[in-house]
């Protein structure tokens, strides 16, 4: 049985003076217990909004959320504020992108961990501090007891992110969502954090939703990947299948655009032409059509549906039929 | 060679302006949709119109006492509305209504002059500090900081006290001096941030003369906050003038019709005829409010973060 079942999730933003904007448009996917699922896409694809919608963190006033988010058979979207608060932190955890701004600057790190423990596991402060030090140790922060009384600005970027992970995992949630957790960090630290995440979810059996725009991150971590474009899922595949033979032209384009160390000198980079601003609405056809090298006439007239395809799911009228070669643009 | 550079700089200017609506046009558009801004603007415009037209609108001469009114004055009685005298008499037998109308003129003049002096002097100081930098900047800013540290009313009182005789200029200068450090700081700050901005750096790199950079690039972009602050200062200067008059530091010429002065004079007559105090007070409050609303909504409208 799936841990999380997202069914037809949609989020529409309303802002005074502009047309309503559909950030997430009928997204569905499952997360099995203990598995790591990737949500990949550019900025504006709706991946972060999806995560916030699952956690119930979208502002109620401007955002209309519809669909179902079933966490162990309970629809999170139908819960009251109180019930949702009970689950957040305890059953669901989230790690955010910018570790400095995501931590309260005026209270010590220790308190930011112990407050979760006190809230959900009903611990006493002393006991919680011991547990907090232990958590910091497990995420690889040296001298954890001293760190408990330190403030976020006294830690390095990598350590802050580790602390955030410790906070998110403090109550051993069954699902962890990580929204671009390494984007704000140096490359070397990125690798460490990813390794840490990988190890922790393995040890604790936590399911992980990994949100990123970086396919390298996906390759190292995810069991299964959902590629999002324009607020919809356009491809879903097991990790190896995706990298070996991506079917959707967008995914193909992402993979092909990664520069390779063994490419011949002077070879040009292969970007995906156009930009997100060129999209046409999903209602009128395939949003990616204006930028798609494989586009047919039908792509601008009929909206492709998400259908099963070679073990995964695919939303495309004219998918790519062969594997990606090194540095090769799509024909 | 220089002509090529000059043409290049001009091209950059054109490009900078070509990119979308100017900040000013955008701001005006936004303000037209904002009810707060409209209220403030309406009040302000009405006030200015009243100030200009007052001498023609006043039914009686505001500067002479009338016998019909004076005859009825008693220690505990001041005539109310009578024929021809809409609001009756003031404490010396002048037509209260006419003085109230003409007071708009005097109040506006005092406020505008004080603000103008403050803006001009402040901008000179701030402009010098911002443009020249270095020790000039440090010296000027230390000086303004100290002035800023003193509570404005106390500073105004101190300046006003330096005049042996209270005249209209006493309050004007006192209020102007109080606002100078604000404008100095404001302009200097705006120019400093301009100095570090890319388009100024680009112009400097192209060899455009410093004077040109200051006047054509830095100043125009710094004017927004100055205009906002000037509007707000107008509001506070009207109130401060009233306060100084209340303390007896203002104009000694009691026949001058200025709302602050009228309010101060009417304090002791609340038992007899409270409207003598209330009408000028309400007038001051409404006008100050109008300028404040205008200034605040102008600030929000000019804030580049609000541009979509």
């Amino acid at each position: 049985m799936s841990l999380l079942q997202v069914r037809d999730l949609s989020v529409v933003f309303h802002r005074k003076g502009t047309r309503p904007f559909t950030a997430v448009d009928g997204v569905s996917f499952d997360v099995e217990p203990g598995r790591t699922v990737g949500l990949v896409g550019e900025s504006g694809s709706g991946k972060s909004v999806t995560a916030l919608a699952i956690m119930g963190l979208l502002p109620k006033r401007n955002a209309d959320t519809s669909g179902e988010v079933l966490f162990e058979d309970t629809d999170l979207l139908r819960l009251s504020d109180r019930q949702l608060r009970d689950r957040r932190g305890r059953d669901l955890g989230m790690v955010f992108q910018d570790p400095l701004s995501s931590l309260n600057p005026v209270i010590p790190i220790g308190l930011q961990i112990t407050e979760v423990l006190e809230r959900h596991r009903k611990m006493e402060r002393k006991q919680a501090r011991v547990e907090a030090a232990d958590l910091l140790d497990r995420v690889g922060i040296p001298d954890p007891n001293r760190r408990l009384s330190e403030y976020p600005h006294q830690l390095s970027g990598g350590m802050r992110q580790r602390a955030l992970i410790a906070i998110a995992l403090a109550c051993r949630p069954r699902l962890l969502i990580a929204d671009e957790p390494t984007t704000a960090l140096d490359v070397t630290i990125q690798a460490q954090i990813l390794a840490l995440l990988s190890e922790l979810v393995r040890d604790t059996g936590t399911a992980l939703i990994m949100i990123t725009h970086d396919l390298g991150v996906v390759a190292g971590l995810c069991d299964e990947v959902n590629v999002m474009y324009g607020g919809r899922v356009v491809e879903r595949a097991e990790r190896h299948a995706l990298f070996a033979s991506a079917r959707h032209p967008y995914t193909h384009g992402l993979l092909a655009s990664i520069p390779r160390l063994d490419a011949p000198r002077g070879e040009k980079l292969v970007p995906i032409k156009g930009s997100v601003a060129d999209n046409i609405p999903w209602a009128r056809g395939c949003a990616f059509a204006p930028r798609c090298p494989n586009a047919l006439e039908i792509c601008r007239e009929i909206t492709p549906e998400l259908e099963p395809d070679s073990g995964g799911m695919l939303r495309c009228h004219n998918p790519v039929s062969r594997p990606v070669a090194a540095g090769e643009g799509v024909r | 060679m220089t002509s090529i550079l000059r043409r290049k700089a001009e091209r950059i200017d054109e490009l900078a302006e070509a990119g979308g609506t100017s900040l000013a046009a955008d701001a005006v558009k936004r303000m037209l949709h904002n009810p707060v801004a409209i209220t403030g603007a309406v009040i302000t415009i009405l006030f200015v119109l009243l100030a200009i037209l007052a001498p023609f609108l006043a039914p009686k001469d505001p500067y002479i006492p009338y016998d019909e009114l004076r005859a009825n004055l008693r220690p505990d009685y001041i005539p109310g509305p009578m024929d021809g005298f809409v609001l009756g008499s003031d404490h010396r037998g002048y037509d209260f209504f006419s003085r109230l109308l003409v007071g708009a003129q005097q109040t506006l003049i005092v406020g505008v002059v004080a603000t103008l002096i403050g803006v001009t002097v402040g901008m000179i100081i701030g402009g010098l500090a911002g443009a020249l930098g270095g020790w000039v900047d440090t010296l000027l800013m230390r000086f303004t900081d100290i002035l800023l540290a003193i509570p404005s009313l106390l500073l105004a009182i101190s300046i006003a006290a330096l005049f042996s005789q209270g005249t209209q200029w006493t309050v004007i200068i006192a209020v102007a001096v109080v606002s100078v450090p604000v404008f100095a700081r404001l302009l200097r700050g705006a120019m400093l941030s301009q100095r570090a901005s890319d388009h100024v750096l680009a112009a400097t790199a192209l060899g455009v003369r410093r004077r040109t950079i200051v006047f054509r690039h830095m100043l125009p972009n710094s004017l927004g906050p100055v205009v906002v602050q000037a509007t707000l200062t107008l509001a506070t200067s009207i109130i401060d003038v009233a306060a100084l008059s209340f303390l007896g530091l203002g104009d000694n010429n009691t026949s001058r019709a200025e709302w602050g002065l009228m309010l101060a004079q009417a304090q002791s007559l609340l038992d007899v005829k409270p409207s003598l105090a209330f009408y000028p007070a309400i007038a001051i409050i409404v006008v100050a409010l109008g300028f404040t609303l205008l200034g605040e909504s102008l600030r929000e409208a000019l804030d580049p973060k609000n541009r979509r």
Binding site: M55, L57, L84, R85, D86, R87, R88, G89, R90, F96, S101, S102, L103, N104, P105, V106, I107, L111, E115, V116, R119, H120, Y151, H153, L164, I167 | I146, A149, I150, P151, S152, L153, L154, I157, A161, L162, F163, S164, A235, I239, A242, A243, F246, L247, G248, L249, L263, Q267, L270, D271, P274, A277, A281, I284, I285, A288, L289, T292, L293, E296
Partner: protein
């Protein structure tokens, strides 16, 4: 932390010195000069000259300044030209009156201001918020002295609920120890004296508090709105913490930082407003001394008052800086 405090203390000294120079200069600039003021109608050029030499006013300006500084540091401020009393004693008597008034006003402004600002932010865009913002705008537009007069008129004259002026009824035979009338009543067990003092304190305190209240509400509201958008509040929400915890530990603790700086700055406004309010309500405090001193060119008194004001201002700002460092750990690093 200690180093921070010491550093701030040392920085305060040059500021005080500069302020003392300004006060000295200002005194010398006052029209007429002390000799003329003292002699009044009997002033003749010879008498002025001889009085000037007695007062030391014919010596070079630097000498005068240093003598001035010397007297200040030894606490010798001379006697008031108006009352003849020792200036420091006069100030000592008036000081508690003003402090009592200012404290009461501050308590009102902060005690009502912060909650209102928070509520306005919480119910943003709704009636409470709009009403609050409008009230603050009007509050700043109303001249303090007029508001005081209005309060007096409505509550004292028309409704007769509260006394119109002064600090205490003479009919109540109250013993005064500290000069803080409310406190004195408590200390001596004369509760009717305390109650009477409070009744006298209400109207002037409300009048004085009006502008600081408006400012505090606006800044609290703006600050809370800003903080509510911050990422760490989102993190706190994601942890499933209760609304109360998030409000207190995460939102308020950050939102109140700019507010506490303002409170320090409000002291300046309070001092200025006190001058006006004390006149309206016949409150025998420092403001009244100042107003009278200016009117009658009482140099010794003015000198002492202005220096006192400067010192108080510098000290208050120092305290605000220190308290800011206590609340916000990031500041200490500097």
């Amino acid at each position: 932390m200690l180093r921070f405090v010491i550093r701030r203390l040392l920085q305060a000294v040059p500021t005080l010195l500069v302020l003392s120079v300004l006060v000295f200069a200002w005194l010398r600039l006052l029209p007429g000069g002390p000799a003329t003021a003292l002699l009044g109608d009997k002033a003749t050029p010879e008498k002025i000259a001889s009085l000037n030499s007695v007062l030391g006013l014919d010596q070079p300006i630097f000498v005068q300044y240093f003598k001035f500084l010397g007297r200040v540091l030894t606490g010798d401020f001379g006697a008031s030209l108006i009352s003849g009393d020792n200036v420091l004693t006069e100030i000592g008597r008036a000081f508690p009156a003003t402090v009592e008034l200012a404290l009461a006003a501050l308590v009102l402004a902060v005690g009502f201001g912060i909650p209102m600002g928070y509520l306005a932010a919480r119910y943003r865009g709704r009636f409470l918020d709009n009403a609050t913002v409008l009230t603050t705008l009007v509050g700043v537009a109303v001249p303090v002295f007029f508001f005081g007069v209005l309060l007096k008129y409505v509550f004292a004259q028309k409704l007769g609920l509260l006394p119109p002026s002064g600090r205490q009824d003479v009919t109540i035979d109250a013993t005064h120890i500290t000069g803080f009338f409310t406190l004195d009543g408590l200390l001596t067990g004369e509760l009717d004296a305390t109650w009477d003092a409070i009744k006298h304190l209400i109207l002037p305190a409300i009048a004085l508090a009006s502008i600081p209240f408006a400012v505090i509400v606006r800044i609290t509201r703006a600050s809370v709105l800003d903080v509510q958008q911050e990422d760490f509040v989102r993190t706190a929400e994601s942890k499933g913490l209760t609304t109360a915890t998030i409000r207190q530990r995460h939102v308020l603790r950050n939102a109140l930082l700019p507010v506490s700086t303002t409170i320090g700055l409000q002291t300046g406004l309070l001092l200025a407003g006190a001058v006006l309010t004390e006149k309206v309500f016949n409150w025998n405090g420092l403001g009244a001394l100042l107003a009278q001193g200016i009117e009658r060119r009482d140099y010794p008194r003015l000198q002492a008052l202005l220096l006192l004001a400067a010192a108080v201002y510098v000290i208050v700002n120092l305290l605000v800086d220190i308290s800011y460092a206590i609340i916000d750990p990031r500041v200490r690093v500097r």
